[in-house]
Symmetry: D2
Subunit: 366 residues, 4 copies
């Protein structure tokens, strides 16, 4: 019932604060015999890393991951293999500037967790948000890389997980121009090349103004076999909702038609089925690949909103821990659109949920 663990049979526990010596996670339940190199995890981490473009925090963290346990490089193999025992991953914090936070140690930043952590714990590590910092998400990405290796182990190249930004601030992509190939061509993970350009300009302005924007991330898993998930509280979509909502700054989660499902009629909503190439073939995907909490074999489509970064240069009304009214301007190094950095995290969380359900399904149903 751990507060800082996620998953059941594939389960990881994360630890660490923004300005402590390190962050990390322990992945338990990973099947044995999977080749897992630090470089494989590093590749995923490099996609989340701060300091890579002008649109993400200028904190310079190499985010270099170390595998401390759970793999064994026998001289008879071509690389270290998982042993089936806990995989401990650690990332040292390098570029902490704790002094930046000195003037906020007693002042609650609006939109941040300072106030609620104090309410719960009586005090909190105010340096960079402590445990509530988005820095924790590096652990998710590391665990997600292990989960991806598990999916590869189970399904070969069958499963592909991709994510992108489909909305930045009020600006949505044009679905007609959606192209996965474009996503890595721009620093905003935008699948619409026209929108990408436009967004860059807009975000530059926002950044210079010291303001921030929200975003919507879409993550899609293709090739997931039908039959993963479980009734009633272990539903695949309930787990995805928990996973996505647990990401820093997330405020809404959708599966398939999502909130818009409310506006549909029964005729529009239920995806009809035909046979194609001898297999069940759905004529639409309003369900987002999940029916009754169990995967249907269609693309699993999840989406979540990310609120705009609360750290902005406009003075905001707030109070101190001592109960005095004051104003605050959040300094430090921040992202103008933290949703941009949520894209690799979305992929990681999708991978973790799927790996967990894949192993549980194998356990229960063989």
């Amino acid at each position: 019932m751990s507060f800082n663990s996620f998953g059941r049979l594939f389960r990881f526990t994360s630890w660490g604060e923004s300005h402590g010596p390190a962050i990390g996670c322990v992945v338990d339940g990973c099947p044995p015999g999977i080749v897992l190199r630090a470089a494989d995890i590093q590749r995923a981490l490099d996609q989340r890393k701060p300091g890579t473009s002008r649109f993400v925090t200028q904190r310079k963290e190499p985010d270099e991951v170390k595998i401390l346990s759970g793999v064994f490089e026998d001289d008879r193999t071509d690389g270290p293999r998982t042993t089936g025992t806990p995989i401990a991953l650690m990332i040292e914090n390098v570029d902490q500037r704790s002094k930046d936070y000195d003037d906020i140690r007693d002042t609650y930043r609006p939109g941040h967790a300072d106030f609620t952590y104090d309410a719960k714990y009586g005090f909190h590590d105010y340096r960079g948000g402590g445990r509530s910092s988005a820095r924790e998400t590096a652990c998710r990405v590391a665990a997600g890389a292990v989960a991806s290796a598990v999916l590869q182990h189970l399904y070969g190249d069958g499963v592909t997980i991709r994510a992108c930004l489909v909305q930045m601030g009020p600006h949505k992509i044009n679905r007609a121009r959606f192209d996965w190939a474009e996503v890595e061509n721009n620093p905003l993970w935008c699948p619409d090349p026209v929108a990408a350009k436009d967004w860059e300009e807009k975000l530059d302005a926002v950044r210079k103004a010291g303001s921030s924007l929200g975003a919507v991330v879409e993550v899609i898993a293709s090739g997931v076999p039908a039959g993963l998930g479980a009734p009633v509280y272990g539903k695949l979509d309930a787990d995805l909702a928990s996973a996505m909502m647990s990401i820093n700054a997330a405020k809404g989660v959708e599966i398939g038609a999502g909130m818009d499902a409310a506006a549909l009629t029964g005729e529009e909503n239920a995806d009809e089925i035909r046979i194609k190439n001898g297999k069940p073939h759905f004529l639409s995907n309003k369900a987002g690949g999940i029916l009754g909490g169990i995967s249907s074999g269609q693309d699993i489509v999840a989406r979540f909103s990310v609120k705009p970064t609360s750290s902005i240069l406009t003075p905001r009304k707030t109070i101190t821990a001592g109960g005095e009214e004051t104003e605050i301007v959040t300094k430090g190094r921040h992202d103008p659109c933290v949703g941009v950095r949520a894209v690799p995290i979305a992929i990681a969380m999708m991978a973790c949920v799927l790996a967990d359900h894949a192993l549980m399904h194998r356990g229960q149903c063989g």
Copy 2:
């Protein structure tokens, strides 16, 4: 890691199928010494009960709950008190018409879980959806009534949980007319009296046409103390997302500003804080009462979409278990807008999440 359990310290496990002899749940972890009568639970169940208006399924189920364990009526008390041991609740199924389902035993209903259950388990109980039936939600409501008693025990009358429909099909309420008092005045739990009338007419037409509509349910908990919740995967909002998404037909979940948070700027989004009557007072509630996964003392605001009932009278393309293409018209007794019945369920799930976090908080932080 049970598939059919929800919660940690306040935890319930539900069981039962639509057309089996009974359904029920076991609530474990309830504090001792709380007066709990079957009538208290019955009152909540009566709000969810089928057959109460022309807008809900005409299946006639008395939904009479029995408390089989976990309470003890000492002659020194005014009513049975919880003992701290598991509370088993059972509701017998009465009005099953399994024959209605004979012609769908081999045909997958689009939008239903027939296909995915078969994919997972190799076969399924086709009578009324078996385990995937919304009938299971009676167990949630029963467990929720126990959770409400826990909250009453902990906080007296401090915490109030209410829910309503804020959208039916594409039709939204007018927020200016929002009035909790109206919710029980109409069969659609609509807080806007003008919309209520309009919706009734519209839903009548839909019902007669054998079609169906989706909806958006909003559930608000007032008076929840600041400090409930936990980092990072045990976040209050992550648990609410899981809870709401696990409700049958839910496709999207929002906290506070929800999906619309994406379109806000940092200035608009972060709720400013002042002191009022000597206490922290937020000037807005975009956060929906949760910051960093922990309650802030503001209203906790959750919303979820419910897709339109998939059982409609229009013929739909589908396939059989044997892989043949066919069409289906779903008979049986169904709700034209299943979202209507999700309102008491939303209250129940909110109560369960809050009771769980309240007990965990007391455990960890005293």
Copy 3:
């Protein structure tokens, strides 16, 4: 983290008090497609049933089990099959004589849980021990019957679980006369026919004297494949220890050489290995079939002591809930050697632990 649940992937939750309307359990995680009839469970329950000989409590309980969910009798099968959803089992209480307990409602029975339940919960259901009654073990036996069906499903007739009494009071069996065939020939589950006769006489005398005796139960699982279990806290032997110690009145648990392992030398203790019929063959079984928490393919041998029934006719010093010193003689209907009735429970708990580990192993390792 439920207090009243056992297991992970094969998990059951039990509920019910000695003198409530019923007891029962919910088994979650059972694989689908296993033929499961109430009669299969009933057969196991009949072995635990009270009132079957003069050596067990004269409470007359038919212990008739009902399957309320989780199975489906399709007309295409020869019997109801598990669906993969929760299996709810219920046993109604019939022969409660709550009046027997009227004079102990305020007096703590030495050796019973009256005092500690009061200390924890503030009050307790004093009728027959309430939740702490051995009556709860009927639920274990019912769940164990499902677990046995799971093992049969996974391994065919490969796995056999048997149990017996190897000690009653200070009297041990003669291992040279150990014969499983004898176990069902006497009401004390004694595998040594000479000891069986002797024990019957001795227990008769104890019974007539209103006293009671302890016992040691031995439970052995044969044919369990090597490789079930897990490091470090999910060890097969740690789970067995928890399972056996959770049985009412258990005070010690042993695996293989058990407590006597302390008196061995390294040479005597470590089981040597040879090859026999092309397979690993251990020359002894001091380990009790478990090394490093994982099964070795040898017989899994567990043993536990059961303390003598605390309900005896000799007056005992005790106190009242109000803090006054007094004496008590426990009336009611009791077992002179409650260890006798623990034999089928031991089999059930072994089956549950093995089913859980078998499914988890399949999940993690395929």
Copy 4:
């Protein structure tokens, strides 16, 4: 459902292999505001450390613990305080001599987990036992030190946990000479000064002969309030049984009278109660401080046997991974009586179980 985690509300997850770069654990659920210095944990670790006397392995490990997260040293406090977030502890491995293990990489050591790990995982880290090494127990001791701080936080100096060796090989202490003060006066944690001398001589001989001896560890918690624990599978004694049996080389666990309870009569076994100084006072403690799975306020008494080290200098029959018969002499640096090193581990596990139940009790019962 993690395999490598222990506890519920106070929960730790351990990771690491004997010959990897480091070992460690993550403690989740620790209450906030408790002063916790690395030195406090170090003190406990130093008691378990290898290389401290001629009776323990000569591997030289400083076992220096680092706190990587979960504490915060505010300049307003006298030392770092827990924040309520996960406490990550790491101990680097220093003195690995992996070459010692080269000749056993393909040969199963009798009494070790080599064979079973291979059976489960398909291969294993053969260096020093990998994950099955007793080196993992350093993590338990570290977590136990945090648990002790929790108990101190909750109960002040009220709770004392002590452990000792009450048997080495076949040699038992004389209970009449039992003196806690003697335990730290000899390297064998023996509470009987006469036995201590005798055991030292005997163990010297065993060590020189390259043989090994088993032991029995007794661990006692005094001052634990009545009311900790839970029915039916969350029993305090069931958790202690799991905790102690999970310790490397443990083969039996006892609570109170333990296995000997079987030989008692009802009159001898049930502890009578009187009032002393206005409080309940038990006249004996056969129950070991636990009734119905809940603490009674008496001393909690647990005992477990530790088998003799399997690594001995006498050649033993075994097989290779390839299935060939061979003999093996285990080199490397080993303990002649590994039970000696289990003493601080027993204290740690007792502390973890009690801290977990104390927090859960506070959560459920306030």
